[in-house]
Each structure stands twice: as structure tokens, then as C-alpha cells.
Subunit: 303 residues, 2 copies
């Protein structure tokens, strides 16, 4: 069985893009035709929308990231829809990151890992570091059984992220302390990544340099304001090392009454992929020697 990092790299190389499509399905944004078709069964409309998005984006993007909250808000049937969505994504050979930001300890963390990796069969899960070492280890133990991955929240993309993440902890901001722990947990394997918002390009470059073996999952691209130039700093010189997520920008580029919503999604996915592909290409110097490149990044160069 290949490692999470190897599978991720292969998927990104095959489609020549690190674009991740976020699935944040919200009922008021769905195509009116689906809502009408399914009548009172809102969950069926959400599920069909997500499955059709997957079919559209599968030839374009290598990774999808369903947001658990929007399925949970639909109740037990929403949880079942999430399972169907993850199963279809797997059938389409997409790498799946379940965005659930779980964080708990001991047997409780193990139960969350079971929900994500066994019940829902996601390839990777986002987790919250606040509870410390024992909030990560049970997830990691389960993930390493069969090549799954974790993405630990480090520097999030929201405006209020700095309240705690930027606090000065003995000379380094908290998010850098968390990044150090991520580096330790990852131990060079590439199965413990870091979530770093596109809305903080300077921090992105700094973390890229500090965590050469760690995959960065970069939300905030597109609708939240991060540009292709901003995310460029997240890539290593070999063009890998980062995953760039776009949610609303790719999945909701239409109004509910727009009959051509499927082609709108396809176009938006291609535009996102191309912008992101070009940023990724500019980050790579065509050299296999990423170490020297990382030294340049450490000196503050805008790659």
C-alpha cells in the first residue's frame, strides 16, 4: 500500500494541478431545478448536487474536501449523504479530505478517527491542535494503519484567527509553535499536514520554509480573498507540497435559477485549475534541488 503522501503527489502530478474542490453545500444556493425535483427531500437535492459536482470536477481536480458541518446540519440523512459523496469521490479516484476539524483525546479521538476513516472512508481529516499531543496521537495511530493523512490547523484564513494564533509564545507566535509540533508529528513521512490560510501569504512562505516535508492545505483561495500569487509561496521548488482549496468559487459560480449551472461549475473549475497551475509552475525552478530553493525562501524571497 502506498503512503498518503505518495498517493497525493501522484494524483497532483496526473492532473498537473494541486486544486482541491471544497464541498460546502448550502440549500439556499442549490440549483432551483434540483430543489424542485426533490421537493421536500432537501437532503436528496444536496446529495445529488454534490454527486454531480464530483462528476464534473473529477477530470479537472485531484482532490475534494467535503465540509462535514453542512451535512451534519441536515441530520442523520445528511450524514448518510456525506458517506455517499465520499464513496462516489473514491470511485472517481479523487483524494478525499474530510474537513471536520475534530479534536479530542484518548478513546474519544479514536472514535472520531473511526468515524472519519472507517465509517466515512475519507483519505484525510482536518484536526484541531488545541488539546495537545494526546489530541493528535490517536488520530495518527489510526491514520498510519492504512495510509491516511491528517491536516492540523496551524494558521487559519479567517479575520479573527490571530486572537490566539498570533499570540507571542516566548518569542514565536502560537501558530509557529503548533507548526513545530506538526513537523515533529509528521517526522518526514508527509502524512501530517498543516492548514495555512491563503489570506496570510507571508506566513505561508515562512511555514513553507520551516516545514519542508509537510503538505500545506491552503484554504481561503478565491471567495475568501486569497489570490494565485498569494498561494504560490506554499509550493516547494518541485511544484509539490501544497494543496489549494476553492469552495464557493468553484461550486457556486451560478444563481439558483441558472439552468446552465453544470457548465458554470466546469468553467469555474478549469479557471481555478489554470490560475493555480500557473502559480504552481512559477513556484518551480525546474530544479530537483529543492533544498537550495528552500534556503532562498528562508531569506524572504517571493518565489
Amino acid at each position: 500500500m502506498s503512503s498518503f503522501s505518495d498517493r497525493l503527489a501522484a494524483a497532483i502530478r496526473a492532473k498537473r494541478t494541486a486544486l482541491c474542490v471544497g464541498l460546502d453545500p448550502r440549500l439556499p444556493l442549490l440549483p432551483a431545478e434540483l430543489v424542485t425535483q426533490h421537493g421536500p427531500d432537501a437532503v436528496a437535492a444536496v446529495e445529488e448536487f454534490c454527486l454531480r459536482v464530483l462528476d464534473i470536477i473529477a477530470p479537472i481536480a485531484p482532490i475534494v474536501k467535503p465540509q462535514s458541518a453542512f451535512f451534519e446540519a441536515l441530520g442523520p440523512a445528511g450524514f448518510l449523504a456525506l458517506r455517499h459523496v465520499l464513496r462516489r469521490a473514491k470511485d472517481l479516484n479523487l483524494i478525499t479530505i474530510l474537513d471536520a476539524k475534530r479534536g479530542d483525546i484518548a478513546s474519544t479521538a479514536a472514535a472520531y478517527a473511526e468515524a472519519a476513516f472507517d465509517v466515512l472512508d475519507a483519505d484525510a481529516l482536518t484536526v484541531n491542535p488545541y488539546l495537545g499531543r494526546d489530541a493528535i496521537e490517536p488520530f495518527l495511530t489510526r491514520a498510519r494503519i492504512d495510509g491516511r493523512g491528517l491536516f492540523v490547523l496551524v494558521r487559519t484564513s479567517n479575520p479573527g484567527a490571530g486572537l490566539f494564533q498570533d499570540l507571542n509564545c516566548d518569542g514565536l507566535p502560537l501558530y509557529r509553535r503548533v507548526a513545530q509540533a506538526v513537523n515533529d508529528w509528521n517526522a518526514g513521512r508527509g502524512d501530517v499536514g498543516a492548514v495555512v490560510g491563503a489570506t496570510h501569504p507571508a506566513e505561508l512562505g515562512e511555514l513553507r520554509a520551516a516545514l519542508p516535508d509537510v503538505w500545506l492545505l491552503i484554504p481561503g483561495y478565491g471567495a475568501q480573498g486569497g489570490s494565485a500569487a498569494d498561494v504560490r509561496r506554499g509550493f516547494r521548488a518541485d511544484g509539490l507540497g501544497a494543496i489549494v482549496n476553492s469552495s464557493r468559487g468553484v461550486t457556486f459560480p451560478f444563481r439558483p435559477d441558472d439552468a446552465k449551472w453544470e457548465s458554470a461549475i466546469e468553467s469555474a473549475a478549469r479557471v481555478s485549475r489554470d490560475a493555480q497551475r500557473s502559480a504552481r509552475a512559477r513556484s518551480a525552478f525546474g530544479s530537483e534541488n529543492s533544498a537550495s530553493r528552500l534556503t532562498v525562501l528562508r531569506n524572504g524571497d517571493d518565489a
Copy 2:
């Protein structure tokens, strides 16, 4: 409609105890008779166990705290069982705290709040502060519509909690910075509480003094090692202000093959209640003037 804090205080006064029973149902620990009875339907066995626990503890304890992870690990049917458990708890006039440690931003946080307060109809939810202000506000906005509550992770009970929570942030440990934010979010209303582990009695006393209007949810009592004397420091002089959770100690005081598991639970709940009631009584000086008492606590006295 009465406030969350008023409802909580009334429930605690009525049963003369701040005991919260944590529901962490794990299949290998269930009574064998239930497992046999339900055969391959593990979720039905878990649900029946939880409902019977609720019936047993309802006359003894005012609050229950189902742990979402153990229900999620059972898949969509587990989510439905969680809803049934929360509904039964409400029918029994128990205050319910959904322990899900959610944390996300903007519309995603609003979706988690919808799942907890609308789909599952919990009275309160545990949340993780790492994402900052905008990770709390959407939860709080929803909670204040109809008198729900939040409990923010401040100082957790696990051995590895200090990795980040104890970091020195400009002279104060991170958990104290989070506590300051909790105090601001609470704004004297009593609907934003703090999770503070019983395994850290010194921090408990310190936070009790620093957050006079904030409810403390104290896990780690019993199985995790916290004693009744340890949790005493969490109470205000009026005997309120703290909720003491016991999970395994109350709900699994039997071996699976023990036919008398129900009376074992009832005894364990009574023992926990009595120990906790006595700690709570010792924390109160019988005075209505809690301000002067808090001054004493601030001076480091072991109440």
C-alpha cells in the same frame, strides 16, 4: 424564556448537586444482555443502553453530556440514536450538553450550531477556541436566540494538554488568554462557560477567581483521577458556578456479564452525587455574599 444560566442553576438547586453524567457509550463495555438481545444491531444496543442510563440517573443528576464521537463512530444510525438520546433527556427534564468540541468559522460554524441546537436540540455545546473570535461568534449568535449555552475549551484534563495551553504568552499561559476571551464573550450572562479539567486543581481555583460569572464545566472527575476535593475549587461561595462531569465512573461501574448493571449505575450515580454534593457544600460558607468569598479565593485559599 429563561436564560441558560438560570435554567442550569434551577436544575442544580432542585437536585442539590452539579453532577453531570457523561454518556460515552462503547460497544465492548455494554451489558452483554443488551448486546445479545439486539444481535447484529449494535446501534440499537447502544441506544437502549443510553436511554436506560438516562432513566436511572434522571432522579439523581441534573445534567447529561453525550459525547458525539461515540455516536458518530456508529455512522448515520448512530447520529439518529444521539438524537433519540437527547430527546429522551429533554423529556426527563435533564439539561443536555453535547460534547462535540466543534470549531469553525462563518457559515460553517453556523451549520455546526444548527446541527447541535436545531437538529439535535441540545441545551449547550462544547466548542474549541483555536480559530479565534469568528469561531465563537456564530455559535453564540445562534445560542442566544433561545437561551442555549456554549462551553469553550480552556484547560483540558488530558496529560498532554499543556503542550500549547501552558505556553507563556506575554506573561500569561495561553489558557489564561483563552479564559480572558471567554470572560469577554460571556459578558456577565452566564451562557459562555469554560471547560477546565479536574486534573488541574490549582488552575481551577485560579480560573474560578478570574471568571466569577462564568460556568465551569469540569471533566476528569473520577476515572481520569480528579477527586471531590480537587473539584471543590471550581465552585463559587454560593455553591453554584461549576458542573462536575463523571462519565465512565457512573455509566460503566460493571462488567459486561454483570446482570445487575442497572443497580450498579444507580449506586455509582448516588455515590458520585453525594461526594460531589459534599464538596460543593464545603465550598459554600452559607453566605449570600459571594463577592467577599471570591476575594478569599483570589488570595489562594483552598475553599
